[in-house]
């Protein structure tokens, strides 16, 4: 049992660690490939290490970015929670009442393709420039892909198992609870995993166009102020945090799915 769990988690984390190292390599090579970017605009990994860790003002610089990050993480968490819960609730509703699904699923698919940047002025007008506005923008990023993925998972419930429940006099609700939900777990987790970076993007966007606080705002403001160290450092911090959160969700996913056997959730 422990071996299975460790094996699953290892298989998930190893490529992730490799790709992080790869990112560093690509970053360095990219700057070398485009030397016209120059040393003041294009910062190397070692520049950022110096800026955040070893330079004399590093503590202040780090604190400023971490303060902004705290706001961004709060915004992303609220949006992620609202979006995921919303997607789960709507997916359950769709599965219980197929008429609802047939009516609204195409609408959901259509809404998914509305660019968020175009939508943001309206969201900001309706929900304000505070946490609510940013949370709504983030929730929209999370909701639609999650809904589509969860729906796919719920639909993949084994027909025989469903029919068995019906044959024993089970209701639609029992079918959902005993067969469809466990069958959809891999999709739910996959949706959660994919939505973590999405939630961060939504929060950054909301902060840039809406609230004017957090990393989303300070990132963009660093550009006209020529604070490229800060810009690159913020990008690094967001990326690392995003990968870490992705990894955490992935580890939880593997812990849970390992209960259903070594290959549960693998295609």
């Amino acid at each position: 049992m422990t071996t299975t769990v460790l094996r699953r988690i290892g298989r998930f984390l190893l490529p992730l660690a490799t790709s992080l190292i790869l990112l560093l390599v690509i970053w360095s090579l990219f700057l070398r490939a485009f030397p016209q970017i120059g040393p003041r605009v294009g910062k190397t990994p070692s520049d950022i290490w110096r800026y955040l860790v070893t330079a004399p003002g590093a503590a202040t610089a780090r604190q400023a970015i971490l303060d902004d990050l705290a706001i961004t993480l709060r915004d992303a968490t609220i949006g992620f929670t609202v979006g995921m819960l919303g997607a789960l609730a709507v997916a359950a509703l769709f599965v219980l009442f197929s008429a609802v699904q047939q009516t609204f699923m195409p609408v959901a698919m259509l809404l998914r393709s509305v660019p968020l940047v175009a939508l943001s002025p309206i969201v900001v007008l309706v929900f304000g420039r505070g946490t609510a506005g940013v949370a709504v923008l983030t929730a929209i990023v999370v909701f639609f892909p999650a809904l589509v993925m969860i729906m796919t998972g719920l639909r993949e419930a084994p027909r025989q198992a469903m029919e068995l429940v019906t044959a024993y006099g089970g209701t639609r609700w029992t079918r959902l609870r005993m067969v469809a939900v466990p069958a959809a777990l891999p999709s739910v987790f996959a949706a959660a995993r994919v939505s973590v970076p999405g939630a961060l993007i939504g929060a950054l966007l909301g902060e840039w166009l809406g609230s004017g606080t957090g990393l989303g705002a300070s990132l963009v403001r660093a550009i006209p102020m020529f604070q490229y160290n800060r810009l690159w450092a913020s990008i690094v911090v967001v990326t690392v945090v995003s990968v870490l959160l992705y990894a955490i969700v992935g580890v939880i996913e593997n812990l849970v799915l390992a209960r259903f056997g070594p290959s549960a959730g693998k295609a």
Partner: protein, 354 residues
């Protein structure tokens, strides 16, 4: 306890190798295309094509450039083509454009150029189109904001590129950043008109006029009157241009001066060029732009430009700017930021331009 089997490990290693190889290839390709865009002479002209980064959207703020381009002053000066690149609410700064070789010259402002120079960018301001600081806070006539102190506890719309000058205004007037709520803004002042914000950072030549034309009675105060007598729309180039392309820069400045002389003399034509030619995609309003062009002349022409010529800066004005930057906590020396010697040479060699 072999938690990762050898096969999958090999697979990941192979992937890594492939990606590394690809990145290496990228590096190899990049090496040959790393030429700077300081102008080529493929078109047979003396100085080739240059890119000019404007500080804002294409409205009458760049009327001098429109005249210099449309009347052929740039061509006469030896330029094959001059590419006027519009700026915007969150565009890349002139300084970054200069640093990466994307532009040859840019219209910026001392408070934007100075931090970049302090970060190590070898660049200088060689001329100033606006002699006075055009920045203002516009507010509704019903709830006017007439001084920086009035902004306390109010919501002010600030564009990303103007965060710096806004912080400077606060610093120069002893207001803490937390005392004013900054709302991120784009170029469209609708949030002020619909009451979402109480104040709006703008050019005195722009939003007060466009808002009034749309029936929104407004009031404003100038940054210049509250500790920030900064010049604006400053021509910024790299030190390399000053040192090794002095003649090209002089030729450009001559065309600029001619263009701005025409623009000052004919605000109606300035507006037409902005509305019908260069800023056509923005559907600007001719009447508003004409009023703006007339208002703009007060910023471009001053008592000293009448004797020293347009774009020039007296030593006293330079000192005022350095002092204003210091109140905004930007500590820079005059000789680090300004080099007016090229412009002075231009006027000495061409006295007819004044």
């Amino acid at each position: 306890m072999n938690s990762i089997d050898r096969r999958s490990f090999l697979r990941y290693s192979a992937l890594t190798g492939a990606a590394l190889g690809g990145a290496g290839l990228l590096a190899a390709c990049g090496g040959s295309s790393g030429s700077s865009s300081n102008g080529s002479t493929d078109d047979g002209s003396k100085y080739g094509k240059v890119a000019v980064q404007l500080s804002w959207l294409k409205n009458i703020e760049f009327a001098g450039e429109y005249f210099a381009d449309s009347k052929g002053y740039f061509k006469d000066a030896g330029f094959g083509a001059v590419d006027l690149i519009a700026g915007g609410a969150a565009s890349t700064s002139v300084e970054a454009g200069l640093d990466t070789g994307k532009v040859w010259i840019g219209l910026s402002a001392p408070q934007t150029t100075a931090p970049a120079i302090l970060e190590g960018l070898p660049a200088k301001i060689v001329g100033a189109t606006y002699q006075k600081n055009p920045f203002a806070i516009v507010s509704s006539a019903g709830k006017p904001i007439t001084s920086p102190a009035d902004m306390k506890g109010r919501k002010i719309g600030v564009q990303d590129t103007n965060q710096l000058i806004f912080s400077a205004l606060l610093a120069a007037n002893g207001i803490k950043p937390g005392e004013v709520t900054v709302v991120p803004a784009q170029f469209d002042p609708t949030p002020l008109a619909n009451g979402e914000v109480d104040g709006w950072v703008s050019y005195v030549t722009n939003e007060p006029i466009t808002l009034a034309a749309k029936g929104f009675a407004n009031s404003h105060f100038l940054f210049a009157d509250f500790g920030l007598p900064l010049v604006a729309e400053t021509l910024t180039v790299t030190q390399n241009t000053i040192d090794s392309e002095r003649d090209k820069l002089k030729a450009f400045l001559i065309a600029e001066i001619k263009g701005w002389k025409d623009a000052v003399a004919d605000p109606a034509e300035s507006a037409r060029l902005a509305v019908e030619v260069y800023g056509k995609d923005q559907k600007l309003e001719l009447g508003e732009q004409t009023k703006e062009a007339i208002a703009q002349n007060d910023l471009v022409v001053s008592a000293s430009t009448k004797t020293d010529g347009l774009l020039s800066m007296t030593d006293a004005l330079i000192e005022q700017n350095i002092a204003a930057l210091r109140t905004a906590k930007i500590d820079i020396k005059a000789e680090q930021l300004f080099d007016l010697s090229i412009l002075r040479e231009v006027y000495a060699e061409n006295p007819g331009l004044k």
